[in-house]
């Protein structure tokens, strides 16, 4: 009671107006909703406070949690101020009592009728007029919003940054690479508005722009080159990474970028590129551990797609709703599974081969391919007039004795499906169309057998024995026919083709060796007949499979015959069919396409059930597709599938998509998002620092989804261009620079830390695209449980110095340099890296191989630049920071140089050690190894300066 009296004296402390979103929501969210939120399963006392209806509902005693206009009769006020320990809310073992000011806010809010508001982020962005500002520096609307807010802290915007620092910031932000020395010099001579705008456009047009921003998207997409879990096997999905680079570089509008990645496969007449885009959602993990339930891991992958989609586009966290209704945000358990139903329709199911996949030709091979195809077409024309030695055998009967289904294909091959007996014998019977002296068996891969020619596990096959007989049509006499020689174009180990022509069945038989070439992988075997089988006789060929391992039957085959004698020997001497040989050779030289996993809906729809407590073993009520009621703005006419979901994400009514997207870009440039919790715009997220500005930018972006245009606008602001120099007042009022009282200054992200060092030392390769590369890495061997792991074979030549985003990304063991600098683990969608500052990072930039190689290269650049030490050092600083360095800085490094030179020149110092430090590259003429060693030490420090690691 004493507390109550105390509070009654307080009202004057409060402002006249209580706003639910600003004043009340946070109090309820933090203190009450965990037990009195939307989750019906978990509502304590059958009472929930998340809606007006819930809060004002009367209980059986006729009391209500909130009685609008009557705080004293509202149960919640009674309970939060109660002196009865049993009644007191929140329960003492659950949280802290509310502060008097919080209680008073609730009281006044109830007094005013307890009006609820929708959470700010769930309302559409509102149009705001940029506030007036008399600050002369303002360049665009951003500056109006920012300086208005700064006024509240008695702060004014900082002056514009030094042009060289500004240009470095701009280039690093837009391309992830520093400007060239020439660009910096030119801009510094004339830092006009015109030149600044030209610089922006120049950087946005560079291919490095797309690489830099793609790297950001890879975190969100949880991209990696392996599948994760125990095996963490390789996965070819890098063509999708190249797709993202191109999408940024071609400035693909964000709506198209979204639709193609979520549902490119469902677009009418989808192009290969649009289908490739859907690999976005195939970056989910596979668990190939023995004994795994594939359905369980398929479901985990689908759920991951839900949380990634909702997180990446709408900043919503939905994983809670897998198991129960979200405790804070408006997503019920049922709604989660309705949304899940959209994504529950794809074919992929934790298959070890990642199917379904699309065959793609690697970039840059197009013209080479066209030429090859033309050559092949020409040869094939020749073939038409010169049919070669082999004649199709037209069987009257093809039988699987073990009961497999046999189907003749249009190309004359026979496909075996259905029952796959342990040991099968295929019997092929027909009439010879010519005197027959040799046979040929061709094996064909087939989609039904997952691109393999065998029916065994992973497409294996073994043929153990061939028996040939002929029948004289006149006498009916059956003659066994001996095969005297055999040859094949591939075999596995001891399982060679000659094993199959003996008297008896051979246990090893012929294993044609699986092909890594996918559908282009063909196998053939050629046999000599001892005696000629006359034309018109019946020929029967029995292909017998009896190997130790069961079910290794052939999947699809074709039999042909020849009248040429000793085809095997001719084949071995390469004289049998030179034309076919040529064609085959050319066909082989076509690089195998890359097979990239993609999204593809099944023909038959899956039913979706609620999973009780998230468990797939406990299906609940069956549900149909749908989106959460709080976001019920399904676009008219949109299909009820993933394509519709993509359109729904981009619908103008969607309150979140544009805000989340602009916030993401903002955070990359300014260090902290307008909503700091980029990954959570929900009730538990941090409210925006500048809500009006966020809305203003969202509405602007939503007009055309033009990313380059928005970035131009952001970096054109004075806010962006401010000097990062802080003073006491700014540090005190705005310690983390949330209000942008100065220019952004923070440590470069993992990829840029490395790329920047390679760039300024002249080592960086600008080669684009392609499969992952293997830069220097102290860890050479990765051993995973249950599979062989991998060996990190360092790339040679320029691949050693490619941009970081091309580094092979083994999910279970990312490259240590990037990991140390906070790169996201690529297991789930990651919207924001939390920057750290650790001694392990110091080890990396001081001692890591690439950084040492960069210092060695930089030392040589410095030596080549001038013979004067002072100029050498100034050049090193210039390369790193675009500024020559102050006198004091130069002096410090000169001293370091002199002392190091002394050490390395000392009689006791071993030349071997010096050589090790300076590396294998030639020494610029006129320099001693010791001088280069001292310069290497200096360069190493230049590349470790705070100002070098920071933008």
């Amino acid at each position: 009671m004493r507390q109550l009296l105390f509070i009654l004296t307080l009202p004057s402390l409060l402002s006249a107006e209580i706003r639910f979103n600003r004043d009340v929501r946070d109090i309820l969210a933090k203190n009450c909703l965990a037990c009195h939120g939307p989750d019906e399963e978990d509502q304590k006392g059958n009472f929930h406070l998340d809606t007006f209806e819930g809060a004002t509902k009367k209980n059986k005693d006729g009391q209500a949690g909130i009685v609008p206009g009557d705080p004293e009769n509202s149960l919640i006020i009674q309970r939060i101020t109660s002196d009865n320990k049993e009644e007191f809310m929140p329960p003492l073992d659950h949280g802290k009592p509310l502060k008097p000011k919080q209680i008073e806010i609730l009281r006044q809010w109830i007094q005013e009728g307890a009006p609820y508001e929708t959470h700010w982020a769930f309302q559409k962005p509102k149009a705001h007029t940029p506030p007036a500002t008399d600050h002369p520096s303002a360049k665009n609307a951003i500056d109006h919003f920012i300086s208005k807010k700064l006024e509240q802290f008695n702060l004014t915007p900082a002056p514009e940054a030094d042009p060289k620092i500004l240009l470095r910031r701009l280039a690093l932000d837009l391309t992830g690479l520093p400007p060239s020395l020439e660009e910096a010099a030119a801009f510094s001579n004339d830092p006009s508005e015109e030149n600044y705008q030209a610089a922006i456009q120049r950087y946005l047009a560079k291919p490095s722009y797309g690489e830099h921003w793609a790297a950001m998207w890879l975190d969100i997409a949880r991209y990696a080159d392996t599948v994760g879990y125990s095996g963490d096997e390789h996965r070819d999905i890098w063509p999708w990474r190249d797709w993202v680079i191109d999408a940024f570089n071609s400035n693909m509008p964000y709506d198209q970028f979204t639709i193609e990645q979520i549902a490119g496969d469902l677009l009418p007449n989808a192009t290969k590129e649009q289908i490739l885009a859907t690999a976005f959602n195939r970056n989910t993990l596979n668990n190939n551990e023995g004994g795994t339930n594939d359905e369980e891991y398929r479901i985990i992958a689908v759920k991951d797609r839900i949380s990634t989609t909702m997180n990446a586009w709408m900043g919503m966290t939905v994983r809670c709703a897998e198991c129960h209704t979200h405790k804070y945000d408006p997503i019920t358990h049922k709604e989660y599974y309705q949304f899940y139903a959209f994504f529950n329709q794809t074919e992929d199911a934790n298959h070890s081969d990642d199917r379904p996949r699309i065959d793609l030709m690697p970039k840059g091979r197009e013209s080479e391919l066209i030429a090859l195809h033309q050559q092949i077409a020409k040869l094939k024309e020749q073939r038409a007039s010169n049919p070669g030695p082999w004649v199709d055998f037209a069987p009257t009967e093809v039988v699987s004795e073990g009961g497999a289904t046999v189907k003749r294909q249009d190309d004359g091959t026979y496909l075996f499906t259905g029952k796959n007996p342990e040991h099968d014998t295929y019997r092929i019977t027909g009439t010879t169309s010519h005197d027959t002296k040799g046979l040929r068996l061709d094996l064909y891969p087939d989609r039904i057998h997952n691109g393999n020619f065998g029916r065994g596990p992973q497409g294996a096959m073994v043929l153990n024995h061939i028996l040939v007989t002929s029948t004289d049509p006149l006498t009916g006499e059956i003659t066994p026919q001996k095969l005297t020689a055999a040859a094949a174009n591939a075999s596995h180990g001891k399982a060679k083709i000659k094993n199959v022509i003996g008297e008896k069945s051979d246990l090893n038989g012929w294993n044609a060796k699986r092909s890594s070439d996918g559908y282009r992988g063909r196998r053939h075997a050629i046999f000599n007949l001892k005696n000629t089988i006359p034309k018109g006789h019946t020929l029967t060929v029995k292909l017998i499979h009896q190997s130790r391992s069961p079910q290794l039957n052939i999947g699809r085959l074709k039999l042909t015959t020849t009248q040429i004698a000793n085809p095997v020997q001719r084949y071995q001497k390469k004289k049998l069919d030179p034309l076919a040989r040529k064609i085959a050779k050319l066909e082989e030289s076509i690089k195998a396409p890359v097979r990239v996993p993609i999204m593809k809906d099944r023909k038959k729809k899956r039913d979706t059930h609620i999973m009780i407590r998230g468990s797939f073993l406990q299906p609940g009520e069956k549900v149909e597709v749908g989106v959460p009621a709080a976001f019920d703005f399904w676009p008219e006419g949109a299909p009820k599938n993933r394509l519709g979901v993509a359109q729904w994400l981009m619908a103008p009514e969607n309150p979140l998509t544009a805000r989340v997207a602009v916030n993401r870009l903002w955070a990359r440039l300014f260090g902290i998002g307008l909503v700091e919790t980029e990954e959570d715009f929900g009730i538990q997220g941090v409210p925006p620092s500048h809500p009006e500005l966020l809305d203003w930018l969202a509405l602007k972006y939503q007009k055309d989804w033009d990313t380059k245009k928005l970035l131009t606008f952001l970096v054109s602001s004075h806010t962006y261009r401010q000097s990062a120099i802080a003073d006491s007042l700014r540090l005190e009022k705005d310690p983390r620079n949330i209000y942008l009282s100065r220019g952004p200054r923070f440590r470069l992200k993992a990829e840029v830390v490395r790329d920047n060092a390679l760039a300024v030392s002249g080592l960086l390769s600008d080669k684009q695209y392609g499969k992952g590369v293997y830069p220097a890495n102290p860890i050479k061997k990765y051993v995973n449980a249950f599979t062989g792991g991998m060996t990190w074979v360092e790339s040679k030549g320029e691949d050693r110095y490619r941009r970081a985003l091309y580094t092979y990304l083994k999910r279970s063991a990312p490259h240590p340099l990037f990991e140390t600098f906070d790169m996201a683990t690529r297991e789930v969608c990651n919207m924001r890296r939390i920057r750290t500052n650790t001694p392990l990072q110091s080890f990396m930039t001081l001692n890591e191989v690439t950084f040492i190689e960069a210092a060695q290269a930089m030392a040589r650049k410095m030596a080549n630049h001038s013979s004067k030490l002072e100029e050498q050092i100034a050049h090193g600083m210039q390369r790193a920071l675009l500024r020559p360095g102050s006198q004091e800085q130069i002096k410090t490094l000169e001293e370091l140089y002199q002392e190091t030179l002394k050490d390395y020149s000392h009689a006791s110092h071993s030349n071997e050690e010096t050589k090790k430090l300076i590396g294998a590259q030639p020494i610029p003429s006129g320099n001693s190894p010791e001088q280069i060693a001292a310069l290497t030490v200096v360069a190493n420090i230049i590349l470790n300066q705070d100002s070098f690691l920071t933008k």
Binding site: G290, I725, A726, P778, A785, N847, L896, K915
Partner: protein, 475 residues
Amino acid sequence: MNSAQASYLTRRHFLTACNSGLGALALSQLSGTADAASAIPSKLSMIAPKAKRVIYLHMAGSPPQQELFDYKPELKKRHLQDCPAELIEGKSFAFIKGTPKLLGGLYDFKQHGETGAWVSEMMPKLSSMVDDICFIKSMHTDQFNHAPAQLLLHTGSAQFGGASIGAWTTYGLGTPNRDLPGYMVMVSGGKMPSAGKALWGSSFLPSVYQGVQCRPKGDPILYVSNPDGMSRATRRKSLDALQKLNRLELETFRDPETLTRIEQYELAFRMQTAVPGVMDIKNEDPKVLEAYGAKVGEASFANNCLLARRLAEQGVRFIQLFDWGWDIHGTAKFDDLKNQFPKKCRETDKPITALLKDLKQRGMLDDTLVIWGGEFGRTPMNEARNGSKFLGRDHHPDCFTMWMAGAGVKPGTYGESDNLGYSVASNPVDVRDLQATIMHTLGMDPHHFSFPFQGLNQRLIGPANHPKIVHDILG
């Protein structure tokens, strides 16, 4: 800079420096949430910690409890009889198909010590330490594949994305030694555990709290050594120059992060001696080496046990050893109960015993919590995959044994399995209960110690409230 600023910078520096003993407070700086205070459990200091540090010995692959600590005479009696239908109905196993045969424990058991704990002949040395050990025979989990089960155990989430228990601990408690990481990990057995590095990752917690893996060969921590051809003296001189440059930078920009960076480089320099120093066992008493079975220059579980003690001595807060090779399926000689399993027992019995004795002798067992176990248990049935003639057991999440020692844990046995060792018969302990208990022992309140991420106050023990501290085993 005036004094107020300097004080601000110093405070901030103090808070962000990763190895200071203020892990929990560091959060308020690093997470950047407006009300970070709410994420710091006020109860943190209210529970008197019994354990100052943890040494966690994870037997990756999961050892068979039936051959080690869970003595089941009834199972032996019914050796090679069909498994009762009610046990397998509706259950799915990783590999077992059809009706498997029961498999009695292959090795002899005896009771030991005053507590009369049952230990099999496969752990002859450890059996002398049972009066310091609490065996929990009623462990259970809900995952039966290695990677998810390990993730659940160590990160609180069967899927990737959880923060590891060691990261939570250093985040909450920091570490007293400023020259070493607070959370260190060593791996033996020739392979990484199935779930890989995620088992000691920090996930949503700042990456300063992730485990640092010490490697047996080469640099114990990556790039702790200066590059070839650079002496420590040269490194010192160059760091002096770097510090000067960075101080000039600090004077101009007054960015507090610059100050932190200056300190991180100095810490790195100190670590350059501290880390190789602690990892170098050359100067250990030969008797100690012999007791552990450790050999200088070798990569083994025995060496790792000795290193664990050395790290513990140096104040490392959380030390985790993963030893691969316990996945005793019985598909061949390399994973069966008669060859591989005895080999693993020989490799671990001696060093674990030596570790416990060593800690005890140094008075460190009183405040060091030692934990031993796999990620799940193994079936009371013979797996017989594809008709294998080798004996082995499949994965079994329903019931298994773990043990704890030190930090005031009550010696004895807690919980029971049923006659066949198939299910928990009394005092069940879920892996989340285990996590709650470990945190409690360290002085952290598992139910309130959380970090806001993705709309939820994330906790090691997960979002549900049922995990309980097993007070009965605590002194």
